[in-house]
C-alpha cells in the first residue's frame, strides 16, 4: 500500500539534500535549469509535486540515490569522509556524496555476488606517534601487502584486490586532491583523475596512511584541527615515501646511477619515473635516507633545468594514467551481479559511467561477454 505522505517526505528530503550541499534556492534552481527559484521553493514546500523523472533530475543534480528520497524511515547517517586539501565548495560536497554512493553500491554488489563485504585486511587501528612509527608502519605494511621493489606500479591493484580497499578515480576538478572513508562498506579511497599519474600513486599511499590510523585520528582530529598543525598530513606523506620508495630498492638504484659522487638531473628524473613518483618526492626521500643533502635538493628543485628535464620526460607517463575507468575488481563484481540478475542493466551502465548502448562493448574491454552463460565450476576440497 502506498504511503499517503510520500510527496511530503520527498519535498523535505529535497530541501535537506540541497542544504547539505550548501546550495541556496537560487543556486539550486540554476543547477536544475528552472526558470526561477520560486518553482523550486514551491516543490520544497510540497505545493507542487514532482514526477518520477523530475525526481531523477534532482537525484542526479544533488548526487543522491533515488532511494534517499523514496525510502521509508530516516535517511541513514552518512559515513565520515576525510579529505586532503578539501576545497569545501559545492563541487567538493557533490564529489563526496558520489564517493559515498559508490562505496555503498560497491559493498552491496559484493554482498549480492556472495563476496566478503568490508574486508579491509590491513586494519585501521595502527598507532603512529613519531617519525620512527611512520617508518616502522611503512615497512610493516609493505611486507603485509607483499609489494614489489617498484610499489607504485602495483599499488592500485594490490590495495583493491588484496587489501579490500575500494578505489574511485573521479574527475573532480578543484574539489580536492584525495579523500578516504571507512564504514560498514569497508575502506575506500577517492583520488582526483585530473592529477598526474605519479601524483595519484602518492595520493593512494598517503590516504592509505589515514585508513591505517583511522581510529587514532578520530580521537586526535579536533585537537589537530585546533592547533592548526598538519602533523598527520606530514606523517601521511612520510608514510607514502616509505611505502613507494623502499630503502632496499631506492638506495642501490641511486648508488648505481652515481658518477664521481654526482647524479645528473636526467638520472634523478628517470629514477623517479621508474618508481612512479614525482621527482620532488624522490629527492626528499633521498634526503631522508641520508643519500643527498637537504641544501643540494633545495637548490636542484629551484633549478629551471631540472624542471625542464622533468617536464619533457614526463610527457609519456600520462599514457599510464588510470583515467576514470572503473577498476577490474569493481567491474567483475558488478558483472557477476548482472549475470545473476541482481543489478539491472540501467544501473550497471550508470555505475560504470557508460551509455546504455555500450554495455557489450564495455564488457568486451574487460574480457566479459554478457551472452555467455559461464557455466562450469571446480570443487575445492
Amino acid at each position: 500500500m502506498a504511503r499517503p505522505d510520500i510527496a511530503a517526505q520527498v519535498a523535505a528530503r529535497m530541501k535537506l539534500a540541497r542544504k547539505e550541499l550548501g546550495l541556496s534556492l537560487r543556486a539550486a534552481a540554476r543547477l536544475l535549469h528552472f526558470n526561477n527559484y520560486q518553482v523550486l521553493a514551491s516543490i520544497e514546500k510540497g505545493a507542487r509535486e514532482v514526477t518520477t523523472s523530475e525526481l531523477v533530475d534532482f537525484a542526479r543534480a544533488y548526487g543522491r540515490e533515488l532511494s534517499f528520497f523514496l525510502a521509508l524511515g530516516r535517511p541513514a547517517a552518512a559515513p565520515d569522509v576525510r579529505w586532503r586539501n578539501r576545497a569545501g565548495t559545492v563541487t567538493t560536497k557533490l564529489a563526496e556524496q558520489r564517493f559515498r554512493n559508490f562505496l555503498e553500491a560497491y559493498a552491496r554488489l559484493e554482498e549480492l555476488s556472495g563476496r566478503r563485504v568490508g574486508g579491509f585486511s590491513l586494519g585501521s587501528d595502527h598507532e603512529v606517534l613519531s617519525w620512527e612509527d611512520v617508518a616502522r608502519l611503512g615497512g610493516e605494511i609493505s611486507r603485509q601487502m607483499e609489494l614489489c621493489g617498484r610499489p607504485a606500479l602495483e599499488l592500485r591493484a594490490v590495495l583493491e584486490e588484496k587489501c579490500g580497499v575500494k578505489l574511485l578515480v573521479a574527475a573532480m576538478g578543484s574539489a580536492g586532491s584525495a579523500a578516504s572513508a571507512t564504514g560498514d562498506f569497508g575502506a575506500g579511497i577517492l583520488v582526483n583523475a585530473m592529477d598526474a599519474p605519479w601524483r595519484i600513486s602518492y595520493d593512494l599511499a598517503h590516504e592509505l596512511f589515514h585508513l591505517l590510523t583511522w581510529q587514532q585520528e578520530s580521537q586526535h582530529r579536533d585537537a589537530e584541527a585546533e592547533s592548526g598543525k598538519p602533523l598527520r598530513e606530514r606523517y601521511a606523506d612520510g608514510f607514502a615515501s616509505e611505502l613507494l620508495l623502499p630503502e632496499g630498492s631506492v638506495g642501490p638504484e641511486f648508488r648505481g646511477r652515481l658518477k664521481n659522487g654526482r647524479i645528473s638531473f636526467l638520472n634523478c628524473v628517470e629514477l623517479a619515473r621508474a618508481f612512479g613518483v614525482s621527482t620532488e618526492a624522490l629527492l626528499w626521500r633521498l634526503v631522508r635516507l641520508g643519500l643527498l643533502k637537504k641544501a643540494s635538493v633545495e637548490k636542484a628543485l629551484a633549478d629551471d633545468n631540472l624542471k625542464k628535464v622533468d617536464k619533457a620526460a614526463r610527457v609519456g607517463d600520462w599514457a599510464n594514467h588510470p583515467g576514470t575507468k572503473p577498476s577490474r575488481r569493481f567491474v567483475t563484481v558488478a558483472f557477476e551481479c548482472l549475470k545473476l540478475g541482481m543489478v539491472s542493466r540501467g544501473r550497471f551502465a550508470e555505475l560504470m559511467g557508460i551509455p546504455r548502448s555500450e554495455i557489450a562493448v564495455f564488457l568486451a574491454e574487460y574480457g566479459y561477454d554478457e551472452a555467455e552463460d559461464y557455466v562450469g565450476e571446480i570443487s575445492a576440497p
Binding site: 518520477t52 523523472s53 533515488l66 523514496l70 549480492l112 539491472s344
Partner: protein
Amino acid sequence: MARLVLLDADVVIRAFELGIWDKLTAKHEVVLARSVFSREVRDYRDPASGRRVQIDLGPDLDNGRLKVMDADLRWTAEADNVCCSRLGGLHGHGELESIAIAKHAARDALFCTADGYAIQAMVVIGLREQLISMEKLLQAAGLSRKFNTRADYQFSEAKFRKWVRLGSIRLAETEGL
C-alpha cells in the same frame, strides 16, 4: 488491434540496431517511461559500420507513434520498496519507472524488457502475465526473425524464460514477507 507495449531501453536500442523500429511502432502502440525516453535511449551502435548513431524519438512522439508516460511518485516509491525488500538488488531509474507504470497506469499493456532484474521484479510483484520477450513481441508484430546471434541471445525467448524461472524462485522464497 495493436496492443499497448511498454518498452525498456535495451529493446528500443536493439530495435534500432536491427533497423525495425519504424515497423515495430507501426504494428504496436508503443509507450516509454519518461526516464527511459529522456535519459536512456540516446544512441545505438550501427552493426554495419560499428559507429554510434544518435537516436531521435522526437518525430515519433510528434506523430503519435510513441507515447511517453510519467510515473506518479507514489507508484515509484511502492515499486522501489517492493524491489528493495523482496528482490534486494540494485535497479536503475528507467526500469523502476517502467515497472511502476506497468503496475499502475498500463495494466493492459505488455512490458517488453531483456533486463534480468526487471523481469524478476515483475514476477515477484505478481505481474508475470504482463511480460513479453522481444523475440515474442517481434513474432506478434509479424517481424519474425531468427534469434541466433550472440547479441540476440539477451532478447530471446529462451533467455527470457530463464529470468522468469529465477523470478518465480525468488517469489517463492519471499512469499510471506
